[in-house]
Amino acid sequence: MMKSKENATKGGLHYYFQSKSGVIGAILLLMMIIGSLCAAFGWLPHNPLDQNVDHILKGPSGKFWFGTDQFGRDIFSRTLDGMRRSLTVSITAVSIAALIGIPLGILGGYLGKWFDIFVTRMSDALFAFPAILLALAIVSSLGTAWYDTAISIGIVYTPIFIRVARGPVLAAKEMDYIKVSRILGYSSPRILIKHILPNVTAPIVVQTALSLSWAILTESGLSFLGLGTQPPDASLGLMVSDAQSLAALAWWTLLFPSLFITIVVVGLNLVGDGLRDAWDPARRSS
């Protein structure tokens, strides 16, 4: 009896925080978001662009927490600023991909027929290109502003969302409870929105969290190749790229940006796990 009362009063958030990976992921992500916000408001110990010839390649110290790079710039400030840029690009890119891909995938799966064929062929065509090559091609035709990078990553990720949304809809459409909703005379929009959608959100939400982390890696990759963020602006990928030749000389230049990429990617993956567990009533541990 007590348990049922709890079920009735506590929402999904309560279940989310029952999963250990969800909690850890949320903490990691929160740290990264706070850091990025600090960078966005300019609350950094140093200006990330200021060069200082007196402090070239200094190790971590009280003044420069993560050390300095070959131009004497503060790595801590640059890492946070790079994180802000990476997150902005990745969130924008994934939003573009999700907003285009999810509705297309869901409608394709639900309506079937020519619309489905059109959608799947289109996504197959995009899938045929290796992700980074396609992103490179789009970026080089668009430009190198951060939104160009975001748009190109968004286009590259759209077919992933189409597939992730379409598959579960196809499966759910054949489920007995959808047949029963037809038998009981529910309208098509009701079946789609209230019965199919809640049963396919789990994979979509998890996919979104995972895509955010991939998008950060793709952005890093593009910057690394010189087609993402342009110097002197900082981006995690660009910093790793710059630090490559210095790693033997000054390990901190490579370690901290790489560490931040790892933390945010792991954090997003854990959040994805937590969301998946919280979404499914049968998986919720009591």
């Binding site: 009896m1 049922s4 029963v180 909703s181 038998i183 009981l184 005379g185 809640p198 049963n199 049968a282």
Partner: protein, 324 residues
């Protein structure tokens, strides 16, 4: 039987696949009167479920009614729009689904699922929740408040089937189709569910179409029986007529194969030799003739017509127990 217009009348219904036409249901005619329960018996593939789905206008993709008509309460169901058909489903004609384990939405609370049924046909108001409570109490769910806040996975199969019945009955349909509602349940639970449905029918004076492959299950629940074989009706009539005086050799064989609990001789159960023909391969002959012990020359080159009255009809040239 009453001489009034039947609630449901299915007239010379033919259902076939659209591509590479294969007849699945051939020339099926029957009626269900107000307050009457009709059992449809037959083996898998004989077309029982398809007939039921065609009444609801929910035939699978690629399968359609190609001839004949289905009339419900004076409305020709083939002629109305899909929107009008949707309004009839669930409120006028409802159905209890075979497998309760997968028939409820796993991520929606039981109470909300019942509200969905009301909401898709009527405006929801303050009294709706009380209607849901009443519907759940009616089907024997204990602790209704708790049940409404539960998810389907917290319920056993029998309880889920009770919820399904509550969903099918909440809008007081005039006709309830039960498609083997107990096959997926334990034997003890089966009896409870059967009794529940029979009781609800009696209280509401509702018409019913029981679909089953088990003659024993429906014998006490229905007024009339329809026996289907390979997409056609081979015999129909009152339960008493069918059980005491089966005339079609197939019905006779079905009844003979029922186990007799008082028989201690441990004999093998009687069976009908052979397997049913595919309805679309039958051609101009009686579909049962290859397995029939009574078949004569006409059976191989003519289709027997279903002849007789509402009390008793049979489609056979050489009925059992009739001297020629």
């Amino acid at each position: 039987m009453s001489q009034l217009k039947p609630l449901l009348s299915v007239d010379h219904l033919v259902i076939s696949t659209l591509q590479d036409p294969r007849v699945l249901i051939n020339d099926v005619t029957f009626e269900v009167h107000a307050g009457e329960a009709v059992g449809v018996v037959g083996e898998s593939g004989s077309g029982k479920t398809l007939s039921a789905l065609s009444i609801l206008g929910l035939l699978p993709r690629g399968v359609a009614v190609t001839k004949g008509s289905i009339e419900y309460n004076g409305i020709d169901l083939a002629k109305i729009s899909s929107q009008e058909m949707r309004k009839i489903r669930g409120s006028e004609i409802s159905m209890v689904y075979q497998d309760p384990m997968t028939a409820l939405n796993p991520v929606m609370k039981i109470g909300d699922q019942l509200l969905e049924v009301i909401e898709s046909h009527e405006k929801i108001d303050d009294s709706s929740e009380e209607r849901v409570r009443e519907a759940l109490r009616e089907v024997g769910i204990p602790d209704v408040t708790r049940a409404m806040a539960s998810y389907p996975h917290e319920f056993s199969g029998g309880m889920r089937q009770r919820v399904m019945i509550a969903m099918a009955l909440i809008l007081s349909p005039k006709l309830l189709i039960a498609d083997e509602p107990t096959t997926a349940l334990d034997v003890t639970i089966q009896q409870q569910i059967l009794a529940l449905v029979a009781e609800e029918r009696r209280k509401r004076h509702m018409s019913m179409l029981w679909i089953t492959h088990d003659l024993g299950v429906v014998a006490n629940l229905v007024d009339r029986l329809i026996v289907m074989y390979a997409g056609r009706i081979v015999e129909s009539g009152t339960v008493k007529e069918i059980f005491t005086n089966p005339q079609h050799p197939y019905t006779y064989g079905l009844l003979a194969s029922l186990p007799i609990t008082t028989d201690k001789s441990r004999k093998r159960l009687t069976s009908i030799a052979g397997v049913p023909q595919k309805p679309w391969l039958v051609g101009q002959s009686c579909s049962f003739s290859p397995r029939c012990f009574n078949a004569g020359p006409e059976c191989k080159n003519q289709i027997p017509q279903l002849l007789g009255t509402l009390e008793k009809s049979v489609a056979c040239f050489y009925p059992v127990g009739v001297k020629l």
